[in-house]
């Protein structure tokens, strides 16, 4: 309650101060969201500065210390080539996060815009977008992603594209529903009367209006995007060794699981789990703020 009292007088303050006080109000209200936000900051820091702060070179092998369990000098142990697992896990953050962010941004551009146009224009646009979404939904999503990567070629860009495509229906549907209810809203009619063109209304008035809901959607699907990309690289698509990436590191460590060297696969898997967990919690928290009715 004290946060609310402190936040209110500043509500009219502009710029940075207002943003900070709002973030503080939001985080103070929900401990779990605050925790997830803290985790998120850590992940971003690891992604930004990871390669600078890690104790060892993520690619340098040193066979004299191969397959060593976690110790003080190697916190997460070493793999079969003597590479430091801790350094590799931290360095991998950047690539995993980049893949997820790129695919979410891409699906926002494709699915979000298509959905807004479908909800706003209706008619043929709506039918075509709906048909595309239905067709994608007719596939088990991970299987479709596999097929797309197999057809387009085994590269990281295609992993991003495939992850974006399988998420398309989700974004298109949310954006369509939200744009549809705002179609004849007062602010849209006002914009129309002021002589704005339909596209201008769509991009300049409706899209900004549904952004909070889309951002929640993006946060909720970030976790799925990370899992999807890691799953694809686990089966050997996209990222190639020796590049550090969580999915492929788990795959490399999988063979050692049966002989007891658990740390090689465990720590990248744990990092994967923590990242996905963080984005899921963050998404839930953001949804509670934007759309309190759907709180569970």
């Amino acid at each position: 309650m004290t946060d609310i009292a402190a936040g209110k007088p500043q509500a009219h303050a502009t710029g940075l101060a207002a943003t900070i006080s709002h973030v503080r109000y939001v985080l103070g209200d929900n401990r779990v969201t605050a925790f997830a936000f803290g985790l998120f900051v850590l992940i971003v820091l690891a992604a930004l500065f990871g390669p600078l702060i890690v104790p060892y070179d993520a690619l340098a092998s040193n066979t004299s210390v191969a397959l060593k369990p976690p110790s003080l000098s190697h916190w997460f142990g070493t793999d079969q080539l003597g590479r430091d697992v801790f350094s590799r896990v931290i360095v991998a953050t950047r690539l995993d996060l980049l893949i997820a962010i790129a695919s979410v941004a891409l699906v926002f551009l494709m699915g979000g815009l298509a959905g807004v146009a479908a909800g706003f224009f209706g008619g043929w646009t709506d039918r075509i977008v709906g048909r595309i979404a239905d067709t994608i939904m007719a596939f088990p999503l991970f299987v479709l992603a596999m097929g797309i990567v197999a057809a387009l070629g085994n590269t990281v860009q295609n992993i991003v594209l495939a992850t974006a495509i399988v998420n398309f229906p989700l974004y298109a549907r949310v954006a369509r529903a939200e744009a549809n209810v705002r179609r004849e809203a007062g602010f849209v009619q006002a914009a129309r009367l002021s002589g704005n063109g339909e596209w201008r209304i769509l991009l300049g008035h409706i899209l900004p209006n549904i952004m909070p809901i889309m951002i929640v959607q993006m946060s909720l699907t970030m976790g799925y995007a990370i899992l999807n990309a890691a799953g694809l690289s686990f089966i050997g698509l996209g990222v190639r060794p020796p590049t550090p990436e969580w999915g492929i590191m788990v795959a490399e460590g999988a063979a050692f699981m049966v002989s007891g060297e658990w740390w090689i696969a465990f720590f990248p898997g744990l990092a994967l789990m923590v990242a996905v967990f963080c984005f899921n919690l963050l998404g839930d928290g953001l949804r509670d703020i934007v759309d309190p009715q759907r709180r569970t």
Partner: protein, 337 residues
């Protein structure tokens, strides 16, 4: 019931057409040379040209599509480049392995998730409720291949309870005579208790991995819909009439609460069929998922395409089944149709 079944079939048809078109587009119309794909990386220019005319890739696209569809109708999915075997035959022999695993995973997951969701909903704020919430949030965050590896480490390496994660049956046993293709059922039919036990042992860990993965959405949905139903008027009436709590929950609330859960099953199947691929790789399971993964690594496109098509057709069929099940549970749906 018949008219509803026909109606649902009519709804499933466009999905099926969409699936066939997409798999066609994936092979033919996208950038890159499909003939080069089918010929493999080491092929010469002449070999590629030869394959191009043999596959009919030098003809116009609509004609290619007609040929593709007629091949499909005859059950011809092409030939694998690496093994030289017809893809359709290979998928047919491997499909029971995947189906047995996926179905057992789903059964295990339902038998844990549904009671858990009901208990959580009937005792809000209790330990079970919190456990359910933690489990559902953690469950969706666990990469399925990671869960599988942890289970292997704990139950195979540390405890030694489970057999090595290498396929459907220990090499000391031979597969039971094929009736259904499901080792559990086939060995029971053959009356071979040792093989039944051995194949069950191999199945437990991968099925458990799939179950943990699909637990979260089912438990979450059961809890939410049970909460909604328990707050409704007819449950209050039943309680006010003095019915035992067990009767109210099981006879009155449960059937109504199951409707949204059955709807979620469609999504759960989408996840399960995808997760199946990863679990098969972890446990060296000889199903269609590991077949596709091996082909993917070798850039052998025909098996991948056959796999995607099989999975999609199965998924459409499963969704159809779910729709029909919905009609069985809820008479109102039948009346509306």
């Amino acid at each position: 019931m018949l008219s509803m079944t026909l109606k649902r079939l009519a709804i499933a048809l466009p999905s099926l057409v969409g699936v066939v078109i997409v798999t066609f587009v994936l092979t033919r119309a996208l950038p890159g040379d499909p003939a080069a794909y089918f010929a493999g990386p080491a092929a010469t220019k002449e070999a590629i040209e030869q394959i191009r005319s043999r596959l009919g890739l030098d003809r116009p696209l609509p004609l290619q599509f007609v040929r593709y569809v007629s091949d499909l109708a005859r059950g011809d999915l092409g030939v694998s480049l690496t093994t030289g075997q017809p893809v359709a035959a290979e998928i047919r022999t491997r499909l029971p392995a995947s189906a047995e695993l996926t179905l057992l995973g789903l059964i295990v997951s339902m038998s844990i998730a549904v009671p858990l969701g009901i208990l959580a909903a009937t005792t809000p704020g209790s330990f079970i409720d919190h456990a359910c919430r933690v489990l559902t949030t953690a469950g969706v965050s666990l990469p399925v291949f990671f869960t599988g590896l942890i289970l292997v480490y704990v139950f195979y390496y540390l405890l030694g309870w489970a057999p090595a994660p290498l396929g459907r049956l220990d090499i000391f046993f031979s597969a039971p005579p094929q009736v259904t293709g499901f080792y559990l059922i086939d060995s029971a039919i053959a009356g071979d208790g040792a093989v039944l036990l051995a194949s069950l042992k191999q199945l437990i860990l991968p099925a458990l991995t799939l179950a943990i993965f699909s637990l979260a959405p089912i438990a979450r949905m059961t809890r939410a819909s049970m909460l909604a139903v328990l707050a409704s008027d007819f449950v209050r009436t039943a309680q006010a009439s003095g019915l035992a709590p067990f009767t109210v929950i099981v006879t009155y609330a449960f059937r109504n609460a199951m409707l949204p859960v059955v709807t979620t099953l469609g999504m759960v199947f989408s996840f399960l069929l995808g997760a199946n691929v990863l679990v098969e790789k972890v446990f060296a399971w000889p199903g269609i998922g590991s077949y596709a993964v091996e082909a993917l690594i070798a850039s052998d496109f025909a098996p991948v395409q056959g796999f995607v098509l099989t999975m999609a057709i199965m998924y459409v069929a499963l969704n159809l089944l779910i729709d029909l099940l919905y009609g069985l549970i809820d008479p109102r749906v039948r009346l509306a149709a």
